[in-house]
């Protein structure tokens, strides 16, 4: 009986230790992390990150379609890879970046680029075989929609599946819709028709465009020498 007691004590103790070290302790350390504040005319205000409930629907699409199985949303520092050099971010991401997200989509695989800052104006455009007629200065909504519909028309080597089911092909009315895709060649719909995004596609793109974790944070060295955040 004594031996069974030792066995049980060992098993329960080891689980308690594991749970304490990897769940409870991190929860108590990180669970109450506040947003970064700044003093604005004597008042302390939260500046970053901000809750963005407007893009929750798009975030749900991102999760439902499993985008995070190929795209991470975490920037590692210089010691841990070339994320910064690659132009995916201006600083590494830290726990504070995700405090308002229920189950952040950090991702564990990169079969596509990191998207932590894909909505930031500083996110680098890879200059490879871009769409001949369509070279925006930055990745705007139209770029994202086109890329979702037919990735290889924009990035020749893209390994991303085309998400055509997020779009519908409809007859052109009096005039083409504002958000009709600028498709050419084999991807173009037949004459008199146009490809327009569904609500889910628009939500997804709105979410992608909202992704910007480049705001300086005090705990990330060198991210913001000019910001006197306290």
């Amino acid at each position: 009986m004594n031996r069974s007691l030792n066995l049980f004590a060992g098993i329960i103790g080891s689980f308690a230790l594991s749970c304490y070290a990897l769940v409870l302790l991190p929860k108590s350390q990180l669970g109450t992390l506040p947003p970064q504040t700044a003093e604005d005319e004597g008042k302390i205000v939260d500046i970053y990150p901000v809750k963005n409930v407007g893009v929750e629907a798009g975030r749900a699409v991102y999760k439902a379609e499993g985008c995070f199985y190929c795209h991470s949303q975490q920037i590692r520092d210089e010691q841990n890879g070339t994320d910064l050099e690659r132009g995916w971010g201006v600083r590494r991401t830290v726990a504070r970046d995700y405090i308002f997200e229920k189950a952040p989509v950090l991702g564990s695989m990169r079969l596509g680029p990191d998207l932590a800052n894909v909505g930031s104006p500083k996110w680098r455009n890879e200059q490879v075989e871009e769409h001949p007629k369509y070279k925006p200065a930055r990745r705007d909504a139209a770029w994202h929609l086109l890329h979702l519909y037919a990735p290889r028309t924009i990035i020749k080597d893209s390994n991303m599946p085309p998400y055509r089911y997020l779009f519908k092909t409809v007859k052109i009315g009096q005039a083409p819709a504002d958000d009709a895709l600028a498709l050419t060649g084999p991807d173009a719909p037949k004459a008199g028709y146009q490809v327009v995004p569904t609500e889910r596609a628009k939500q997804l793109v709105a979410y992608l465009m909202s992704l910007d974790r480049s705001h300086p944070l005090k705990e990330v060295k060198g991210s913001a020498p000019e910001v006197a955040a306290k």
Partner: protein, 494 residues
């Protein structure tokens, strides 16, 4: 020292050098235990194989999509981002968990010398588990997943799985409680640990998803912790328990060292549960967490070395058995894969290596090393051993077993090696910040194509295995008594 004091004595798995009458009594007892266990164990194993077939199809599709992204992409339920989690869940919670639970129940009944009563409870548990899992996978394919890696199954379905598991776990605890064999053999330790750990880890992780107070990277950490516990504690413990049982049993000699076995067990139980944060290495977490998990991964080498040495030394001089016994061939393959996976896991956890291999298919290679090359192969070995004892006839064809082995070993091995090389290649290429990302990924095309070929081999092996299993269910096989061997013992193949 506690570990030494707890070392089991070599009674259980040792050959029984008793008088013929005693041996007959033991044989009759074993037959009675097997008869009592046969209903639920066959139910678990049969269903596990159905999940294995489903996982094979899903794994194949997801592999094709790596080199042909347009494959089935027009259909939402077949898109890569839904197929991949469906595959992971079907393989992990379908095939691996169900076969693991079935084998665990049988091992516990055998090792505790208990005839299972009320087998319907176990069957009910398996039904609840599978109803939950089916609902979960349907919701994943329907775009209703939780969106948390490793915990994709929505809470309502996970609750059904947990209820089902509780019935199985309770029965496992009762078998242990009513054991007529003391002290407990090393396999029993691993099984008790596995059965205890899983529901807490799985339950807490799903609970955390439902709690509004758990947000941010803590949630990612809990998901990583639960996924690691499932693979590195629950399944690994069942796999090792099975290997510790089968190898001594088939070659008919006791485990080489009980002290090694006990040292390994305590190292395992202490360190394995602390390794979860390596999955988020380099990520937005406090550095101490990742450091802790790396340290635990390194210390786990104590278990890997002791278990590997123990199993291999037990086999010493008996390696020719891999030519004869299907059970030994699969199980020893699994044991060696366990060693390799452990060493590779240690090396890959080091920051300097992780920096290159994180976010690459090398991670997938590591998972498959443990889940397929180790765990699944040991389960195949166990099924080849257990089934004849449950249905009363021996496997029909050693050729079919041979083909299953080739499919699983060469297919699985090829898949793992290709994923690993592809991960190393893309990881190294990404170290050049100027290199174009999409080109690096596309440069892996040859590996992705090879991986699909490997999947074809795996699928052939699984199809043959499933067919063979089906024949056994209909009692189509060799007459009972002598096991079906690749070659008769005494005739060496070279």
């Amino acid at each position: 020292m506690t570990a030494a004091a707890l070392a089991p004595t070599p009674t259980t798995a040792a050959p029984a050098p008793a008088a013929p009458s005693a041996a007959q009594v033991q044989a009759a007892e074993r037959a009675a235990i097997d008869a009592a266990a046969s209903g639920p164990v066959l139910f678990f194993l049969g269903n596990a194989i159905l999940w294995l077939l489903l996982a094979t199809v899903l794994g194949f599709i997801s592999s094709v999509q790596l080199h042909s992204p347009g494959f089935l992409a027009h259909c939402p339920i077949f898109t890569y981002g839904r197929i991949l989690p469906a595959y992971n869940n079907a393989l992990g919670y379908g095939w691996a968990a169900l076969s693991g639970m079935g084998v665990a129940i049988w091992l516990l009944a055998r090792l505790c010398r208990v005839q299972i009563k009320w087998p319907g409870v176990l069957v009910t548990g398996a039904i609840f588990w599978q109803v939950g899992l089916t609902l979960g996978i349907v919701q994943i394919l329907g775009g209703k997943s939780t969106g948390v890696e490793g915990l994709e199954i929505p809470g309502s379905a996970a609750v059904l799985m947990l209820i089902g598991y509780m019935l199985v776990g309770l029965w496992g605890a009762l078998i242990f409680g009513y054991r007529r064999q003391a002290p407990a053999y090393i396999s029993v330790w691993y099984l008790v640990a596995a059965l205890f750990w899983f529901p807490w880890s799985f339950g807490l992780a799903h609970l955390s998803l439902a709690l509004p107070s758990v947000t941010g990277v803590v949630q990612s950490l809990i998901a990583a912790w639960a996924a690691q516990n499932f693979l590195h504690v629950f399944l690994t413990a069942i796999g090792l328990a099975t290997a510790y049982y089968l190898i001594p049993k088939v070659i008919d000699r006791p485990v080489h060292s009980y002290h090694l076995a006990s040292t390994g067990f305590w190292a395992f139980i202490l360190f394995a549960g602390l390794t979860g944060a390596v999955r988020l290495s380099g990520g937005p977490l406090p550095a101490w967490l990742v450091t802790l998990s790396i340290a635990a991964t390194i210390l786990l080498i104590v278990q890997i070395v002791t278990v590997s040495a123990n199993l291999l030394l037990t086999m010493d001089g008996q390696y020719h058995m891999v030519y004869h016994s299907p059970t030994i061939r699969f199980t020893v393959f699994g044991a060696i894969a366990f060693t390799i996976a452990g060493v590779v896991g240690l090396l890959a956890s080091l920051r300097s290596v992780d920096r290159v291999l994180h976010f690459t298919l090398f991670q997938s290679a590591q998972t498959h090393m443990l889940l397929y090359a180790f765990f699944s192969m040991v389960m195949f070995g166990a099924i080849y051993y257990i089934l004849p004892r449950l249905v009363g006839c021996e496997w029909l064809s050693s050729t079919m077993i041979t083909w299953h082995f080739y499919g699983a070993a060469y297919g699985g091995g090829m898949l793992i090696i290709l994923l690993a090389i592809s991960g190393i290649a893309s990881g190294s290429a990404l170290a050049d910040g100027e290199a174009i990302f999409s080109q690096i990924i596309t440069d892996g095309q040859v590996y992705y194509l090879g991986a699909t070929l490997a999947w074809v081999l795996i699928a052939l092996g699984h199809a043959i295995f499933a067919f063979h299993f089906l024949l056994m269910l209909f009692r189509i096989g060799q007459p009972g008594g002598e096991p079906t061997l690749f070659a008769p013992i005494g005739e060496e193949k070279h």
